[in-house]
Symmetry: C2
Subunit: 586 residues, 2 copies
């Protein structure tokens, strides 16, 4: 088995700049790594001054992840956003002292020009969709840090913020725009590119910032955007500040935000070293998470292991071990695997989710997090687990949980089964292992629902996965809650509606195989649409609107000749030629 | 000016059956009329027995609206659904005595096979999207009749209900399925066609019927569907009933529903005669609504007239005049115009909305509806107006309200301006008319907000248009509510945020012209996506999820080669060949 270090591959990709569009597809096919460290950043820098951190964006024009475009005017591609994601994560884990974060631009006159248009124009549909999803998740993460880590984000828009640049600002709690007669915020996607602002802009404008819908409409038709007091009056920004007073006002507001932050100030941060992983043709292996890729079947078997026998599930151990502590290590690995598979393995459409290990050790680690929610690090770990599970919810792959003897679908790990589109739980044991009475002969599988499943790991719709599963069936939830902490057999899990199927040893292999084959026979697009609709019953939030409504419309538009055709607006941008539109409104 | 009777054209289209796909586009280009009467139905029949009406579907195979397909097995096309829409409307207005409605199938062994697949496969994208929108609106109308007219719908599924057939049942309050060992409910779109159940199925299953999402997943993968007690246990139906007890049980439940209906039993129905309209190349003219079509500009100017001077705004007049009463007549005309333009004038992307008349007469008619909400007919008129305005909200055209002297944007008609994406209100008068002091010289325009705007005409998100406009700005709403019933000038309307722009006579023409030209220069697709996102701030409901999330995903899927390509599932269906899929998951 040949092990490949994919970080090196991505590094290579970063350093090649070529205008040849034909290399695009090949370049996309390179393995993208989501691992980086501040020392390797090419586009962002982190400055920390007391309780205030500053993230400065100064994109290297020649630092594109894929050849074929120059990242001018602080425009970004996936590689730029991978650094931002890394920076946001590190601030949360490595810097407990940071209580507010300023995002600002490091170039003259421009804050951020949004997603690079040549990159978008030359990318495949799947690449565009994946890119938008990840950037959306990163911006949701910024809002999560503000809401749940007490790291309150402030956008210091010190030049023009257009498109995704303004959408980045929208993810911050406050937006300050420099008033210099030229700097503006804008969403020029409609007039210039014939697509939507696809990183939450349309949703956050009306649903978060409460901009009136008619002003929002006008705003989105102005390629030059809106400046100064008008921008403030329309609620597009919070304050318009003269350039000579700008940095002082930013500092003032950042310190105010820091002062009122709920982030506990004690303690030292923990390091997030680069994950150790081995990637081979048919396997991705971390310490607690491993994936087996079956390209014929179109599946990935993901197995998440519970804590080792020696693991110490104490708060002290968490602080001492840091990223080696089971919950955090497992979460980081799962997060990375999800991103890796989503971006690099598009044709593996079904993920089989398994766990293995001792449920009591999982629950001990969970309980520590519950008991110490006031501890900043325990809090971070819990919210990171929440975000990682949310990533699973919006992953366009069929998720099937397989609950077998030896598994530990309990508490935090039960969420994997609850996130799945369906689940199979073996009733009894695999006869061939049981009769031998060997060390492999595990007892029948059990699942355990705990308090962690009852609201501490909400989905994007703000309901627990249990609450979403039983949406409108309050009795069913109440029945389950009477059994918190108790091991449930396949028969019980079926009765309580916690698993989909409970075949015995005779039927197991056939049922699972048929499900997998069937999934592979369906239209991948229709599966994506189906799952996106079923996974989020009940209330909608800014987050579900972004991933449901906004994303779906954007995907549709990306697919239409009016945007992506040879004469479409996205392809024609910058050529001096106007797009040719099919004028039919649908 | 040549007047064309389009009803006759549609009749012609209905009677031609040809397998030649090349005629498809030409056939779609025929003007579709949404007007019909029970005497002309070819697919549905209405039977009334005391308080229970029965709508029986027996689709004429050769009765397709467009040539090229046979409507086998009670499958439907737009023409079939136009009849259903007509029947639902007539039951509400013509039959106050009807308090429950049974929908059942008139063929042997099949309730309804859903949308005709050959029709879908051969239709243009725009046709598919428009078709789905209208069928969705009709099903929402069935739910509205149940909730607000006390006409409670029951699906008597006396044979297999697949796809859109089951989705039709899902729109009913109760679903009874015959238990005969073969009849099933199913959503076979995913496995058979590679598209979504696009008429609310995915949403209603989890959000209305509260089917568990994993069972919903399994259900949508079973082309043969689910039968009998399993269907009931999964909550897909309410009852599974043996064939020999079926009609008796249906009657029993229909009578129970009728007995507990809140529909007032008094009074005689009113007739809904075919609307008088003249359609010319550049004009559509009804009594109170007229539209001027500018194909160069890509616009439609819609003008809604207020009540005549002689109009009697009393409850007695409503019952006496019936469909001639202003509010009802205007609403019917507007409803028909929206449907006509949406289906037949795809390239006219901007609608300019104007009103003309005396605001006090509009308000008198509105007040009558408010004062008599307990009267069944006044109630019907108000809910019909609500549904018609909702149709406007989901119309994929840019809506611009023009508020000029002589207009009557007050109460019910102010909703047109509030539904618009933006509004222009003239500050002052048009100087050329004012100086002449002629009869044409109207005083400056005013708008009037009334109680009708404050919740009696909710949008799909269950908020008023005012509430949606000021979502998250409660103060702004409170300020406006202090001025209920008062005429507001352009300056005041601007100050209160009720209009977007208030140019004076010098700027008016340029500003409006520029807005119209600008709109025509944008990507029609991006405009559709933008407007669909902006129009529905705030909470989501089953209705907004259907038109937002579900529809957007379905449109995306319809556009993908995996569905609509030559080798796609939709095109390959029935050929004996399997679809060829691009397996990339996005």
């Amino acid at each position: 088995m040949t092990m490949v270090n994919t970080t090196a591959q991505a590094d290579n990709a970063e350093n090649v700049l070529s205008p040849d569009a034909e290399e695009q597809a090949a370049a996309e096919a390179h393995v993208v790594s989501f691992q980086t460290t501040p020392e390797r950043y090419r586009h962002w820098s982190i400055g920390i001054d007391g309780p205030v951190a500053t993230l400065t964006m100064a994109v290297a024009e020649d630092g594109g992840l894929v050849p074929g475009y120059a990242l001018k005017l602080n425009s970004y591609d996936l590689g730029v956003d991978i650094e931002l994601y890394d920076a946001v994560q590190r601030l949360r884990f490595e810097h407990p002292e940071v209580r507010s974060v300023v995002i600002t631009g490091g170039l003259d006159k421009v804050f951020c020009a949004g997603a690079n248009i040549r990159m978008l124009a030359s990318s495949s549909h799947a690449w565009k969709v994946n890119f938008c999803k990840f950037t959306n998740e990163t911006r949701n993460g910024i809002e999560d840090a503000t809401a749940n880590s007490g790291q309150r984000y402030l956008a210091a828009v010190n030049g023009t913020a257009s498109g995704g640049g303004y959408e980045l600002a929208l993810a911050c709690e406050q937006i300050l725009l420099v008033d210099d007669g030229s700097s503006a915020v804008s969403l020029p996607e409609l007039p210039l590119l014939g697509v939507l602002p696809g990183t939450g802009g349309l949703t956050r404008i009306v649903d978060k910032r409460h901009v009136r819908r008619d002003l929002a409409d006008v705003f989105a038709t102005l390629p030059e955007g809106v400046r100064g007091e008008t921008a403030a009056r329309w609620r597009l920004i919070d304050e318009s500040v003269p350039r000579n007073a700008f940095s002082e006002r930013v500092r003032e507001l950042a310190e105010e935000a820091a002062a009122t932050s709920a982030r506990p100030a004690e303690g030292a941060g923990i390091a997030l070293p680069t994950l150790q992983r081995d990637i081979a043709e048919a396997e991705v292996r971390y310490r607690y998470v491993r994936a087996t890729l079956d390209r014929d079947e179109g599946t990935v078997s993901v197995t998440v292991s519970g804590p080792d026998e020696a693991a110490d599930p104490s708060l002290e151990a968490l602080h001492r071990q840091g990223s080696d502590y089971w919950t955090l290590a497992m979460t980081r690995e799962l997060d990375d695997l999800i991103l890796h598979l989503r971006t690099n393995e598009l044709e593996l459409g079904t993920w089989l989710l398994r766990t293995e290990g001792d449920a009591t050790r999982v629950l001990a680690h969970d309980q520590m997090l519950i008991d110490n929610s006031g501890d900043w690090l325990a809090n971070e770990v819990l919210h990171y687990l929440k975000r990682t599970l949310k990533r699973l919810d919006v992953t366009s792959r069929s998720l099937i949980a397989l609950i077998e003897p030896g598994s530990c679908f309990a508490g935090s790990l039960l969420e994997l089964a609850l996130a799945a589109d369906r689940s199979y739980m073996l009733d009894g044991v695999f006869e061939d292992t049981a009769v031998e009475d060997s060390d492999d002969a595990a007892p029948p599988a059990a699942i355990i629902v705990t308090a962690l499943n009852d609201g501490l790991l909400p989905m994007g719709n703000d309901l627990s996965r249990l609450g979403t599963r039983f949406f409108g069936q309050d009795d069913a939830v109440q029945q389950v809650k009477k059994r918190l902490g108790e091991a449930m057999s396949a028969a019980e899990a079926l009765e309580f509606g916690l698993v989909t199927f409970g075949p015995d040893d005779l039927d197991w292999e056939d049922e699972v195989r048929l499900a997998v084959e069937e999934r592979a026979s369906f239209s991948p697009d229709a599966l994506t649409g189906l799952e996106a609709n079923y996974r989020f019953a009940g209330p909608e939030t800014v987050e579900t609107k972004i991933f449901g409504r906004l994303t779906a419309w954007q995907n549709w538009i990306f697919n239409r000749p009016n945007a992506s055709g040879a004469d479409g607006a996205l392809r024609r941008f910058g050529t001096g030629q106007r797009a040719t539109f099919d004028r039919k409104r649908v």
